[in-house]
């Protein structure tokens, strides 16, 4: 790699993504620095970084959102660049601008890119103006007084979304127009709390939509390439659960069209660094959904099928270099699937779970990549996102990848905090998933996948638990003589 204008990169993030970034920085022989809240002291990301600086906040999340402390930490360790990871400040244009003003390189797009795409309404208008397809919509700020009537006139079903949103926060589906006003009130309250911005918009909800997104990379010389698409249709409450690349829904012609559309959108926006253009695919056509101006959680599936380290390319183009890859260098090989391990109980409506990780053992088969942020002994709290790890597999075909992922989910041992691994294994073995016929409502339409089924294993679990419980085993061991003398004293 050519010389970079910095030798230390500060990671303004935590958990698995911080570790993933540190790994690439090490390969690039760059020093890694990290900020951390007290609750994360002793986590693997903090121990792995070359230097770690504590930050504080009213809440743990607030610490990671405190741009002043983070920039001060970067100065303290002479970090020439900041990598924001995903979430937290990664899509905050003001933060990117402050970083640049502090004389530090921001590993990500320009503040203008973030501003344009971060405001979902502005992004849609921009994309529409440039001749790309978007879903029919009503935007509140165009004329707040007529917002509800304009939304009604699109017709049900509708999707209510916060303008400043992302990650499914505050989104609501309205199938009955009588429920529209109530949904707007609730979405507004959530939007205000999550984004500090209560503006909403409503768009036509596509039934059985598939979520397909294209990974793009741009440099500051106007070059933009794509690294093919990912499909992320297996979702619960708008939260991605299983992602894969390539999408089983696209023909080679459609793949070419959607990937080229993404490149054209990014180019029209003068997009720099790694980004993802998300589309809704209805089986024949696609609409622009939004553009995420950061590294995505599910970026590893793209890395698996292309063999390209996206973080390394992010660092490289940030160092004012021209992209070292051209479109013809990007070759799609095999099939990759990522399963997200969450601390949650699928059978109880995916409620978050907490606990201490008593046993942690990841599968180590070839073609299996684990991006994990946790260690045995760690306490899992609700202070942060409930994602504990990502298991990514790569195989020659989709069928083999699904089987490998299912096995990995069964081999993964995490005791002490309930997780969704059994649920993921069931989805990966489900006929509908295997046939590729999924859409974003797939999990909701198949509640049996979340509920699980215990009957066949019940005896094994009760037998093991009984034998491992001292009072139960002790009373059996004590019984032979007693039992003889007391007769049928039981009951």
């Amino acid at each position: 790699m050519r010389k970079l204008p910095f030798d230390t990169v500060l990671i303004a993030n935590r958990g698995e993504i911080a570790i993933r970034i540190i790994k690439t920085l090490r390969e690039l022989e760059l020093r890694s620095a990290i900020v951390y809240h007290d609750l994360d002291a002793g986590t693997p990301a903090v121990s792995m970084a070359d230097v770690a600086i504590p930050i504080s906040g009213r809440t743990p999340v607030a610490a990671y959102l405190d741009s002043a402390q983070i920039i001060a930490a970067a100065h303290e360790v002479n970090a020439g660049a900041i990598h924001p990871g995903y979430g937290f400040l990664s899509e905050n244009a003001e933060f990117a601008r402050k970083v640049l003003e502090a004389g530090i390189v921001f590993i990500g797009p320009t503040p203008e890119n973030i501003e344009l795409m971060g405001d979902k309404i502005r992004a849609r208008k921009f994309v529409q103006r440039n001749g790309f397809p978007v879903a029919p919509s009503a935007i509140e700020e165009d004329d707040p007084a007529t917002f509800i009537s304009r939304a009604r006139s699109i017709g049900a079903p509708l999707l209510v979304k916060p303008s400043a949103g992302g990650g499914g926060k505050g989104m609501r589906i309205v199938r009955d127009l009588d429920a529209l006003e109530h949904a707007i009130v609730q979405a507004r309250s959530e939007a205000q709390r999550y984004f500090g911005d209560a503006r909403l918009y409503v768009e036509r909800y596509v039934e059985k939509p598939r979520h397909i997104e294209v990974q793009v990379l741009g440099d500051s010389f106007g070059n933009v390439i794509h690294l093919f698409e990912r499909e992320c249709s297996v979702q619960r409450r708008f939260q991605k659960v299983i992602e894969e690349a390539p999408s089983p829904a696209l023909s080679p012609q459609l793949r070419k069209k959607i990937c080229e559309t993404a490149v054209d959108i990014a180019r029209a926006a003068n997009y720099r660094n790694a980004g993802t253009v998300e589309f809704i695919f209805d089986g024949s056509g696609f609409y622009f959904l939004e553009m995420n101006t950061r590294l995505q959680v599910e970026h590893p599936v793209t890395e698996m099928i292309t063999g390209i380290d996206l973080v390394a390319e992010q660092v490289y183009v940030t160092g004012s270099h021209e992209l070292r890859l051209s479109q013809s260098d990007i070759v799609l090989a095999g099939h990759a699937i990522e399963a997200r391990v969450y601390a949650e109980a699928p059978a109880r409506g995916f409620a978050p779970t907490t606990g201490k990780v008593l046993v942690l053992d990841y599968p180590g088969s070839p073609g299996v990549r684990i991006d994990s942020g946790i260690l045995q002994g760690q306490q899992i709290t609700t202070a942060f996102d409930s994602m504990l790890a990502k298991v990514i597999v790569h195989s020659p075909t989709r069928t083999e990848a699904a089987l490998k992922a299912e096995r990995a989910m069964q081999e993964l041992v995490l005791l002490g905090c309930e997780t969704n691994t059994s649920f993921l294994a069931r989805v990966l073995a489900d006929e509908q998933f295997l046939s590729g016929q999924v859409h974003t409502g797939y999990l909701d339409e198949n509640p049996h996948l979340a509920a699980g089924e215990f009957a066949s294993d019940l005896t094994a679990f009760l037998a093991a638990a009984a034998l491992l419980t001292r009072p139960v085993r002790d009373s059996a061991d004590a019984v032979p003589e007693l039992h003889a003398s007391l007769g049928s004293w039981r009951n």
């Binding site: 109880r348 409506g349 409620a351 046993v359 053992d361 069964q410 094994a460 679990f461 009760l462 419980t469």
Partner: protein, 167 residues
């Protein structure tokens, strides 16, 4: 004697007896084929059911038994019959609204002393990025609101205690 193991909200009444090949599990009216468990150190062991061997990973934390068998994980709780009774006694005459999942209080909607009807909103909580209204399942008088706005709680935490109307 009978013991109780709780699994996914269901209490299983069971006991073990010795037999030549190890133990038998007595579950309700059923008696299993011989079972045994052989420790292999550090949270690993082999469960034998009717001669078939299954690798088991386990962790024991107080009364809680975490198990990984046949690719799936489950948590069982050993119920000491005495503590189960004490808990029931403590809540006698009171109605409690419990947290269905861990979360944060967004707003409290009632004050102690307030007479409420079934269906009254007690609290708005936020969990998993969504707001949920916790409503009273019965008529009653608010005795205590256990959490303030902004406070976080764990699953099963008592959010609001009510006393039955007329008490």
């Amino acid at each position: 004697m009978n013991h109780f193991l709780e699994l996914e909200g269901v209490d299983y009444q069971l006991w073990l007896s010795r037999c030549k090949q190890g133990y038998r599990l007595h579950l309700g009216d059923e008696v299993t084929a011989p079972i045994d468990f052989c420790h292999q150190g550090d949270g690993c062991g082999i469960l034998t059911v009717a001669g078939a061997k299954e690798p088991v990973r386990f962790a024991i934390d107080g009364d809680t038994i975490h198990l990984h068998i046949r690719g799936r994980t489950s948590v069982l709780r050993y119920r000491d019959p005495l503590s189960t009774l004490a808990l029931a006694e403590k809540h006698a005459g009171h109605l409690v609204a419990r947290a269905p999942m861990p979360g944060v209080v967004v707003a409290t909607s009632v004050l102690p002393g307030e007479v409420i009807a079934a269906g009254t909103a007690l609290m708005v909580v936020e969990s998993m990025k969504l707001e949920t209204v916790i409503r009273s399942s019965q008529n009653g008088v608010v005795e205590r609101v256990h959490f303030k706005e902004g406070e976080s709680f764990e699953q099963d935490a008592v959010l609001v205690t009510l006393s039955a109307e007329g008490h």
